[in-house]
Amino acid sequence: MSNLTDLTLAEGRDHLAKGEFTAVELTAAHLKAVEARRAINAFIVETPQQALEEAKASDLRRRAGTAGAMDGLPIGIKDLFCTKGVQTTAASHILEGFIPPYESTVSGKLKAAGAISLGKLNLDEFAMGSSNQTSAFGAVENPWKRRSDPTAKLVPGGSSGGSAAAVAARMVMAATGTDTGGSIRQPAAFCGITGIKPTYGRCSRWGIVAFASSLDQAGPMARTVRDCAIMLGVMAGFDPKDSTSVNMAVPDFETALTGDIRGLKIGIPKEYRPAGLSDEVAKVWDQGIQWLRAAGATPVEISLPHTKYALATYYIIAPAECSSNLARYDGLRFGRRVPGKTLDEMYALTRAAGFGAEVRRRILIGTYVLSAGYYDAYYAKAQKVRRLIADDFAKAFETVDVILTPTAPSAAFGQGEGTDDPVTMWLNDVFTIPTSMAGLPGLSLPAGLSADGLPLGLQLIGRPFDEETVFKVAGVMETAANFTAKPEGL
């Protein structure tokens, strides 16, 4: 057996099934990696004792013949999922010390399938950010380094930066992420791993700390397409506790990986080649088109004309929802409280101390766009544009089966770079946001390395609830890309 931490979920599952090693051994190996790579700050809370106990229980289940779909496989949980008895912070001081008395539906499903959580993964505060630098518990470091400057610390992307870094650094075999405007896909691209934001409504949002309710969606982050398919199969499903979850059977996503994409039409949106797009990204995109053509699919140019409004629209809708969703963090019932002489003063002091700058910025924007006299100009209009963006996709999907775009406009950037201007930072999600606005499934997979040795991702977008086609095409592309590079030192 090679290194246990290099195994994919599928390999780990199969080896465990054959009894080649135990869940305890597999878990211990990953816990060792967690300890060794603590410097990248991927975890907010580590739960090694609990993990080992769960691993023992998993081995017993396997002996008893009752092992679940992910039994004994070590994973990480983004610290946006409420976990019963384990601190959940959303990477915010305002929730510091909050220990939920309940388990989110999605993390509960993973647990029920036997997956073993090694702890809670770092993220941008309340999932607001694209570089994991807004976390109240410190930035996460990307395990990848620039060849030209191996000492510079790079961002892992965000908001699921801890998840992406932990998976890339082989600390966990896979991790949960959440994606509101690109928070699974962009960090997956930056860290050279695969992640999918499923169709809105596919996974329950119950028990996930809300950022923007109409956009938030949980999804898996792993090192292969197959692993994402396996894990999404466990995470997905109707939940009567979430009114926006969709009552639809969950297909066996793994069986969609047939390797046969002959005859499929691949949409290539002409608007996704803006002037500022890096040559390297454009090149890898062209390469991706060639791979799919070679496998028998047909690239078709499509137009998504309202894409140019997506970012502006997103930065009205998401902050509007967040301004309301985050009102409950008032210091009264849980989390941090800063006393004040009056109720209003307590609110002000608590929220000023509890929220970081980016969260405060978005609450202010959201409060503004919803306020009397501005609602129609901003929020109502943004909702109309959102519909147009979704219509663009619907029209495109009348002729194509899947859409291929870059995931992010560049490779991972350095910590501290681009933090002066929030709008520049927001541009990171320019390719992922339209998909989120339309509620469509979007998958990012590593397609190559930049000249400086950093991973570059491509995004596949599918029809609503057609994750299967996305996985199928992604599987073919993964084979063609043969992305075997690893971060330095692994």
Partner: protein, 501 residues
């Protein structure tokens, strides 16, 4: 109804009133969570994580509450919107855990409807209903249990309310009172709200403005919040209307604001001005899809609606020949209407004086008089409730039967009724026990009549001379001699025959 006019120094003013009623929906669990809704439980014992606004918690609509809202809408003849939208009303307060209230804003479940006021003179007036929507209640802040701290009870947090908004159609405090009484009556008939204002399950905000008589303008209104009895609503409106007139007559302006009613001082006070008013930042709740109901669902509820007060009143007037006032009083509560009908529709009566009487029923007018008179008086005197009445409808019916078959005279019946209230026994039992049976034995009555005539020859002469009113005195004497048991009709008949010849 006499119009309600405020006489000012510059002329006459009329008051324009619209009411917003928050009615707590009768349901076992809350609007968006499974927590219980029972009143009076220990603080914070009926709170789910949803109601407490915990991270990641999501609302799920309670279908029973939707059904109740539709039922109420239908009861108010309101348009039912098959698609309605829940919106968030955002504001910060300690008893609002989510930091927003889930309500309905521009797309409520109920549209325009109407409510008929029953005026004291028996006439009616129709008041428009503007809308009906569903929303969550907030928790309760308790400020008087600690010198510097407030306590929060979240039992009420998330409980379903219907907000029922009238059009500005009311023109006097009295009409406002009648509106609330009628609305409460309808809600109770429907079983959608218990209408208990003291427990806060029905609360009222009054929007008040005034205008010169004859004018049709709508002037700036003030909203008086959360008044918790019908009497207080009327007092608050009276005070507020006079305040407006005074301000206008002193060339002042009324500014739109929210006011509180002080029931001790009987006055309203400014709570917050328009400038301080919350900007609620309404927007559709992204955690909830639009509420879509099927026409079948509405039709099913409609088919199961009970007979409502207006229809029942009309039927009581047509079927039982009651006047508008009596019918209105009896139908105000379903339980009293049912009581009356049980009394009126018992076993067959033995006499028929020509008044309307349903087949197999008792004389409805007599039944009505007994219920409205002695029975309601006994209800008040004993402090009992309709749920546990001092005399059952069956027993009261039986008493009426005893009058009908001549067993009891009207006077004896009143005595028996008093004993029924006192002992709870059935009238036949009491008649037997106390020997109160009316004497219809001709011989016994004749003997008494003869004795009275023989003892009073002078008075007999006076009657014969034309002073026939003295016959009443003779009746009294005979009744006295028979301890009131003689059948009055027979006594009258016999006296007339024997004295007048």
């Amino acid at each position: 109804m006499a119009s309600y006019i405020l006489q000012g120094e510059t002329g006459d003013w009329e008051v324009v009133i619209g009411l917003e009623v928050h009615a707590q929906v009768i349901s076992h669990s809350k609007l968006f969570s499974g927590a219980a809704t029972e009143f009076g439980a220990e603080p914070n014992t009926q709170v789910s994580f949803v109601d407490a606004g915990f991270p990641g918690m999501l609302p799920v609509i309670n279908e029973i509450c939707v059904e109740q809202a539709v039922r109420t809408g239908l009861g108010l003849k309101a348009r039912i919107n098959l698609t309605s939208v829940f919106a968030r009303k955002n504001y910060f307060y300690a008893d609002l855990p989510q930091g927003y209230q889930i309500s309905q804003f521009d797309k409520p479940i109920g549209g325009e409807g109407e409510l008929i006021l029953d005026l004291p003179d028996g006439s009616t007036r129709t008041v428009g209903i503007e809308r009906l929507h569903l929303e969550q209640d907030a928790g309760k802040s308790i400020h008087d249990m600690h010198p510097s701290k407030s306590f929060i009870d979240l039992n009420r947090s998330g409980v379903a309310l219907m907000e029922i908004v009238s059009k500005p159609d009311l023109r006097s405090p009295e009409e406002a009172g009648l509106y609330l009484t009628k609305l409460r009556s309808i809600l109770r008939y429907l079983g959608t709200c218990d209408g208990n204002m003291q427990e806060g399950s029905m609360r009222c905000d009054a929007n008040v403005s005034v205008r010169p008589v004859g004018s049709t303008e709508l002037r700036t209104r003030c909203e008086i919040k959360n008044v918790n009895s019908i009497r207080y609503v009327q007092q608050a409106i009276e005070f507020e209307a006079r305040r407006h007139v005074e301000v206008y007559e002193n060339n002042g302006t009324i500014s739109q604001e929210t006011r509180l009613f002080d029931s001790v001082k009987t006055e309203t006070r400014s709570m917050r001005s328009k400038e301080q008013a919350h900007d609620y930042r309404y927007f559709p709740d992204p955690d909830l899809l639009p509420l879509v109901i099927a026409q079948d669902f509405v039709d099913g509820i409609k088919a199961g609606l009970p007979e409502l007060p207006d229809a029942k009143k009309a039927r009581f007037m047509a079927e039982y020949g009651l006047n508008a006032y009596d019918a209105g009083v009896l139908v105000a509560e379903r339980i009293s209407a049912d009581f009356f009908e049980t009394v009126a529709r018992g076993s067959a009566a033995t006499h028929d004086n020509g008044r309307a009487k349903p087949a197999g029923g008792r004389d409805a007018k007599i039944a009505c008089n007994w219920v409205m008179g002695d029975f309601f008086a006994a209800l008040n005197a004993t402090g009992k409730t309709m749920e546990n009445p001092p005399v059952s409808a069956q027993d009261l019916g039986a008493l009426i039967d005893l009058i009908g078959d001549g067993t009891l005279s009207g006077r004896l019946a009143k005595d028996v009724f008093a004993l029924m209230v006192e002992t709870g026994k059935a009238p036949a039992v009491l008649v037997e026990e106390k020997g109160l049976k009316q004497v219809t034995d001709t011989g016994a009555i004749e003997a008494a009549v003869d004795a009275v005539i023989a003892a009073n020859p002078d008075k007999v002469q006076q009657v014969k001379d034309g002073k026939t009113t003295l016959l009443g005195w003779f009746v009294g004497q005979v009744m006295k001699a028979t301890q009131g048991k003689a059948n009055p009709a027979m006594v009258n008949e016999m006296l007339a025959r024997k004295v007048l010849g």
